[in-house]
Amino acid sequence: MIFVKGATLVLIIFLSFFLTTSSFAQSKIFFSEIELKQHNFTSYENINSNQLIYPFKKYWENITLKLTFGNQNRQNYTWILYQKRFKELVFIINNDKTGFLPDTADRYNTFAGRTKTLVSLTSNQKKQIKDNISLLEKLRDRYHSGSAYWIKIQETVDTTKSLI
């Protein structure tokens, strides 16, 4: 019985690593939520690519995608995933988490490419992509022109432009 209690306590400690959100000293933020909303940006994702729990989010998405049947359903879900990647990218850039920028940008580019291949975009979706482009360009220009981060974000701008 004592062993069960001890093991339960340890399990609670283990789970608390997932339930607590990490808080650090306020890092640099380029645009406030109000400014982001001007580009029709709704909200960040709950789990972003800087978090250690991120792989579980990806595994869940992959499983959901594999269990999505029918062409239209798969297109809809691919579009949802593209939006998620975009929001994650905005979070990383806007919060100046440059250590995660290369991987997040590459992941975004991959999904943008997949979206281009699989999804027949509606006019609303194309309008949203134009808003995404203008937001990415604004975020890009917060870095020195020609710097590594500027170039990486420019790649995402180019990839996004190729969607429409």
Partner: protein, 396 residues
């Protein structure tokens, strides 16, 4: 059948170790150990010359001997230095087998357990890839257990040799002193301290306090255990795996105090029990669970003692420690694990942080659960050991 199991395990173990040794590189701890021997061969005192903490004197002599052997045989230092811990692992396996047979375990199960030790990835990685000398020290501790009942003076001397190679067996000395009879306790203590005192003599004449300070002020490195979990949490801020220096210093100090008080408590709990191997396992688990400065090589300490006791938790421990080790090496230094096979792999690739973090989280939880389980069983040692189907080496 048991001979076939043993021979197969030995052959496989040797092949894997040789493969890792030959493909290894002269980096990290191997470089540091080489420097210790190099400085000694140049006629200088490594404890005064080098700007990092130097291992106890026997390690320095092993390094110097490896340098000489390397130049005589025209073989790289990183290959010669790794021979010692790998030979030590093979020798430990031999003693482990003898101890299992002594406990009247069936030869086929004794062979399987010994085979598990020989092929244990944690031991193989630390000895053959990382190139640390902890296996030499661990072998000597196991030998000290082997001789404890029959030849206590040899046991004391061998334990002393282990302390002269690496300092961690020093925390086991009180356990050995509790197990031996009161009549020979003082003699055991004096004999066990003799090797490290004798081997220190050549280095201690100039600036003795500085030499002893170099030996005793090493606080470990925040690579595994709870420190690694914290590093993972801090990594989420901006992919920086390093903890703030002030936080490290504070946590190290707190963990030292916690460890010392916990050790004192454990030794008090175990004072009337004469089961040396379980006591060693408990102390090492406590160390890995509580202390903030856990290095990679410390993870190998536990394994032979867990195998002697046929503790099944060592399977979970091995799995989680292996994931933690692989994540650690792939993130911080791929060439430490993979050597020449690392190719163009660069350190600090973010995706390997997940293996490092989750491996350490699971490892730490495993150690805690295992420790709690063993501590709960202390009052019922005899029935616990019988129910686990194992008999410890007792002094009764």
């Amino acid at each position: 059948m048991n001979k076939l199991i043993l021979i197969t395990a030995v052959v496989l173990s040797v092949i894997i170790r040789l493969f890792l040794i030959i493909n290894g590189k002269h980096v990290a701890d191997v470089w540091a150990i080489a420097k210790m021997g190099e400085v000694l061969l140049n006629g200088q005192n490594p404890y005064l010359t080098l700007d990092f903490n130097v291992y106890p004197p026997l390690s320095v002599f092993i390094s110097a001997l490896s340098q000489i052997t390397g130049s005589l045989t025209n073989t790289s230092f990183h290959i010669i230095i790794k021979i010692w811990p790998n030979l030590a692992d093979l020798a430990t396996a031999f003693i482990v087998y003898k101890l299992l047979i002594k406990q009247k375990i069936k030869p086929v199960f004794a062979s399987l357990w010994t085979g598990f030790f020989l092929l244990n990835p944690v031991s193989i990685i630390i000895s053959a890839a990382h190139g640390q000398l902890d296996s030499v020290s661990t072998f000597l501790v196991v030998l000290a257990i082997f001789y404890l009942n029959t030849h206590p003076k040899i046991s004391a001397f061998v334990l002393g040799l282990s302390i002269a190679v690496k300092p961690n067996p020093l925390i086991l000395l009180p356990l050995f002193l509790l197990v031996v009879s009161k009549k020979i306790r003082i003699r055991y203590l004096l004999i066990s301290l003799t090797p490290v005192i004798l081997t220190l003599i050549p280095f201690i004449f100039t600036k003795p306090l500085q030499v002893i300070g170099n030996l005793l002020t090493y606080s470990g490195i925040t690579d595994f255990g709870f420190a690694a979990i914290l590093r993972g949490i801090f990594f989420q801020d901006n992919a920086n795996p390093n903890l703030p220096a002030l936080l490290v210093s504070q946590f190290l100090n707190i963990s030292k105090i916690l460890l010392l008080t916990s050790l004192a408590f454990i030794i008090f709990l175990l004072r009337k029990k004469k089961y040396i191997t379980v006591s060693i396992l408990i102390v090492y688990l406590l160390f890995i669970s509580i202390y903030f400065g856990i290095g990679a090589q410390y993870l190998s300490w536990i394994i032979p003692f867990a195998v002697i006791l046929r503790q099944r938790m060592v399977l979970v421990y091995t799995a989680t420690a292996t994931i933690a080790l692989i994540g650690f090496y792939l993130y911080f230094g791929p060439d430490l694990l993979l050597g020449k096979l690392a190719g163009n792999m660069l350190p600090f690739t973010n995706k390997y942080m997940y293996y490092y973090f989750y491996g350490n989280l699971l490892l730490w939880i495993t150690c805690l659960i295992w420790l709690i389980y063993l501590l709960i069983k202390i009052p019922k040692f005899v029935s616990f050991i019988r129910s686990a189907g194992s008999k410890d080496i007792s002094n009764e």
